[in-house]
Symmetry: D2
Subunit: 363 residues, 4 copies
């Protein structure tokens, strides 16, 4: 079953294995006539790459993108945009000793059950490396959304036991997130989280976290009723990210312990425009954007690859233990790099919904 595409109108298809020759994405349905800032696009891809941060994996991938089609004289032409990233710095030999062991928290067991064959090197297709392609496509989506005035930013809300407090507007987020080593707009939390990650890494263990995303200057009307609700598309996008385990929008799970009176956002007028006095709905009503900020959270489990010994079974049916080779490079907290993926997927959902919204009338 074809399952490597995302989006109805602005549609991406990703391909490639972690330790194959390359990975890539084809973007189909991009409107014509947009000038793409390829430097910014490259920068977005680099940001997600490991190695540019001492708290993430030490694998060093320059992740240089090559744009092979769809752009002519700097502008999109309406034809598919193919972006390719050659894999480098992959050393598959490390995976040889453990290739027959089911890895706790990993997909090698389920891929083998499903396909009877698995490119185990570096996690193959199930590796987080695939998300570099999403970030590339999302970077283009973000640039197009920006021409329509829509801005968005993802960031860390919590890691392990440390939760950043405060609510920030989009400009604060855009200015203060990237400079945090853990992509958290709160300076104090950044320090605490950093220490916590260093501690976890020193014991060979890992941490989880919550990524939050905010989109501002939203138009009303994005999202389509019943099965293409904006929150349904977002939920699907977020749960497609490796290691994600949950999604909530607006007041989310907290809404379940609130009352209707407290949780309802009442309507008022602001500058003669209808607006909401609170945003428990997170920017959507009935699956369609209200014009308020879109706000949601995504839960990421702790990185599955840890340096502690774990019980497991091998593919021949013997009980055994798994010890990751010490040279392996794994993020102690995958949630941090996931911030870029959450942001990219949000951009893809928003642009797709923005385009779909043009179909409501024939004007």
């Amino acid at each position: 079953m074809a399952s490597n595409s995302f989006g109805n109108i602005f549609r991406i298809t990703t391909w490639g294995e972690s330790h194959g020759p390359a990975i890539g994405v084809v973007i189909d349905g991009c409107p014509a006539g947009f000038r793409i800032d390829t430097q910014q696009l490259q920068q977005d891809v680099c940001n997600r790459s490991p190695g540019n941060n001492k708290l993430t994996s030490k694998r060093k991938e320059p992740d240089k993108i090559e744009i092979l089609s769809g752009i002519f004289n700097g502008e999109t032409t309406g034809t598919p945009i193919s972006i390719l990233i050659w894999n480098q710095d992959q050393d598959s030999s490390k995976y040889e000793p453990i290739k027959d062991l089911y890895r706790p928290g990993h997909a090698n067991f389920t891929y083998l059950e499903k396909y009877k064959i698995f490119d185990y090197r570096g996690g193959g297709r199930s590796s987080g490396r695939e998300t570099a392609c999403r970030v590339a496509a999302g970077a283009i989506a973000k640039q197009i959304l920006a021409t329509q005035g829509i801005k968005l930013k993802a960031y860390i809300r919590s890691i392990g036991s440390i939760t950043a407090s405060g609510n920030w507007d989009i400009n604060h987020l855009l200015e203060n997130t990237q400079q945090s080593a853990v992509l958290c707009p709160d300076e104090i939390a950044t320090k605490q989280i950093t220490q916590q990650i260093i501690d976890a890494r020193s014991t060979g263990d890992s941490l989880g976290g919550v990524v939050e995303c905010c989109a501002s200057f939203m138009p009303t009307g994005l999202g389509d009723p019943i099965y293409e609700k904006l929150e349904a598309k977002l939920a699907s996008a977020m749960l497609s990210i490796p290691a994600s385990k949950g999604f909530e929008i607006g007041s989310g799970f907290n809404a379940t312990t609130s009352s209707g009176y407290d949780n309802n956002d009442t309507f008022t007028l602001k500058d003669n425009k209808v607006s909401l006095t609170s945003n428990n709905s997170g920017g959507v009503l009935g699956g369609i954007s209200t014009g308020e900020d879109l706000i949601f959270k995504v839960a990421f489990k702790p990185t599955s690859s840890i340096f502690k010994q774990q019980d497991t079974v091998d593919t021949k049916g013997n009980k055994t233990t798994l010890n990751l080779p010490t040279g392996s490079r794994h993020d102690p907290c995958i949630a941090i790099r996931a911030v870029f993926v959450v942001e990219a997927m949000t951009a893809l959902v928003l642009l797709d919904s923005y385009l779909a919204n043009k179909l409501v009338t024939l004007k």
Copy 2:
């Protein structure tokens, strides 16, 4: 944009407004040769109907289904199954006085922003009434899944401040859920929740809750990598249900405060079969089912329609207040009836994934 269909292979399309002449669903892609228990199908639809429970809305809808195609001599033929339910007992006059008021927590504001026209009677297309069609389609999916040995059940995990404790296997759930007035398999919690709902209703307010769903006897291999992961499809399905605000699978948001070592499910052998020693993953790894129970939760906000006065704005741009007509019938806690919808949508996702899994090989 066509947005009223769900599923790739076993594909449903629903139609109809709350106070229009009828609602219905077309199921396309149903395998041939299945004997449908139409009495059970009718029972499933009735279970969701209001009026069969003193804690849900008093609107009395018999919701008698008519099967208009796709079944011949009691068996599915592989052609579309069209199911229709005539609307009865709808009294649109109650909506006349408030038809120009934006209703807090409701979709009439966003529908009007998007389409410039809205069938406001009873919530029109945005009404929860649409979910009766999902329950009908899901009932068929459940029957087909049962022939493959897969059983599933949704139930209330919490309402407001009351959370049911305990973990139950599928047989306990199947036997003990339906008899609870609030669809909670825990007797003590049932009593507490019941009282809490009665209290909320007496003040004109409403409550939210968490619906949990469990599928057992799962085969491995369901779900397709990257964008059609089982949890991504489930998340999309759940966030498409009216009033839902969140989704989490397995340890979900709790995973974010755990460690990799604690959260990883290690592998072991049980009856010479590979199995997991815990189920923090909730039955999926890398988007593909592990064979363990599939377990996830869905957050539902408190019912938006309450009998307390709320500030709002009308469609002409005047500030005003909304008072629902006292005769209106609204559930004090929509999460309870949502149990049936969660279960139906789960069945649709599972059957779709089960069928998709046949495409992995040509055998």
Copy 3:
């Protein structure tokens, strides 16, 4: 596999068997705010119905449509439009004696091979009756296209050995087709065809024919490159009509015996607008509309149901002969009623392409 839907944006799903209780169509993705002329819609459906023409089948079906959703105060709301037609006048008893015989030219053999079960009454799902639903959906598409200035008309180009000569503009076609008993805008050909059909019917045999369709006042830009070319979508639409065996656009198969110099349409200026000096291309270049008239032909085989004895085999594997019961009602030339279906499918393709073309830019 879901296969009963057509269209990407303006998407229809049809359901129903010939002798089931009803047939119907759900239209999803219809833009909001269109006032539908339901009388004209009903008239279009009636035109396709048998019994309103002495040369077509004598089965008398009023085919009264019921619109069950999606229209409020006379206007489309953007929600699915469900249209239902109750089946009447069906007498299934005539099919009992032949229910176990494979019928030459019919689908009962292949449906049974595929599904192992078949609702044989009146041809079940494979009956041409399904096309009434296409005509209903196409009628709405035509009305919407008309608001954008696009007009279209299908008509008979040839029946058996008689070919109408002449090329007519859209206004002539709109004014002169319907009044011909065989839907041919050429009076002389109409007479010859009429006689030919009467002759064929008197011998219990049947005739084939070619339906041509013309769309005028076409904008440039409709159709999407590579796999959603306008001619590819049209070809798919036409070959989905029962009894169709071929499609050609512009000079079609004749182009294969022409030369590049003769077949190329050169460009010129007309009223300061780029136009083509001929229309061998039939209104498309590279899959995208040129602004010239869209012209194509569809081949229909002779009606398979004839009143001559034919050799066949029964489902138990015995050689036998098939004699249709004399009271059965079948068109001696199905191409005539197919005219309405060709027109409807063309409208669906054009509206879908028109909507898709809005996605080329974000303006």
Copy 4:
């Protein structure tokens, strides 16, 4: 609008411009566990390439494929197969002088109307070069179909005024087509066609032709009713090929002048199996394969790029004439190379239908 994908289950997405850095295809939905003969795959791609035949274009493109993902240890893994072909030997300077001229029979006018921007070099995205990607994907589909016993072959039925006579079985076609300089299994016709093409080329003109395709050892049951009929999918596939203008299956347009009695294929028994005594239906009834040979024809117009002067208009709105630069390389008859594309697209349709047919039951 995403329009560069083909297929529902075995789904290809192609990308790339004629004179961009590369072209490629991503195959999503390929079943796992197939050993791919990459040498045969490369050979298929080379066969389509220009330069390996003195009657086709002299452009010399080695068209060496690179497989970048989806195959591990020689076998498909179920993940996307990405195939890339670097463009070589492209000299865009030849297109500079004519870049502002609308080219008769070409897509540059319609692309510019639609997108306002066009990569004119070598025809950009509208170039036949894109079909190399289809041939690569089709080669894999053919190999998989062969494991299921299905064989297919496309060939020239006619070029200009010369039509090959005879009907050949699949083995004759497989053995005798490739050795003909014009891919025609008839030796006499091959000679006549060859001379005709040499003559046309000497005058700077071009020829059209009819490609026929035959698939043998077909199972019954391929194709899905109503809108995914096998012939509808084939028609769409064929009309998506550049320069195609028509499609007919079985007796096709000839059926329109036949009678029902003559055109119906009667049923009989052959080796105790139901079979048809003739094959006017071309291997399908009601959109589903009968098990007889699948036979259809595709009309290709004469190559649009000719070396005769033609009237045209430039993008600034001036009348002018077009003279292709003498060094340009264009096939005098594009139908010949189209044979490989017809065959590839047929393989894609058949494999997609074969996979879809697995969904009819749950066995």
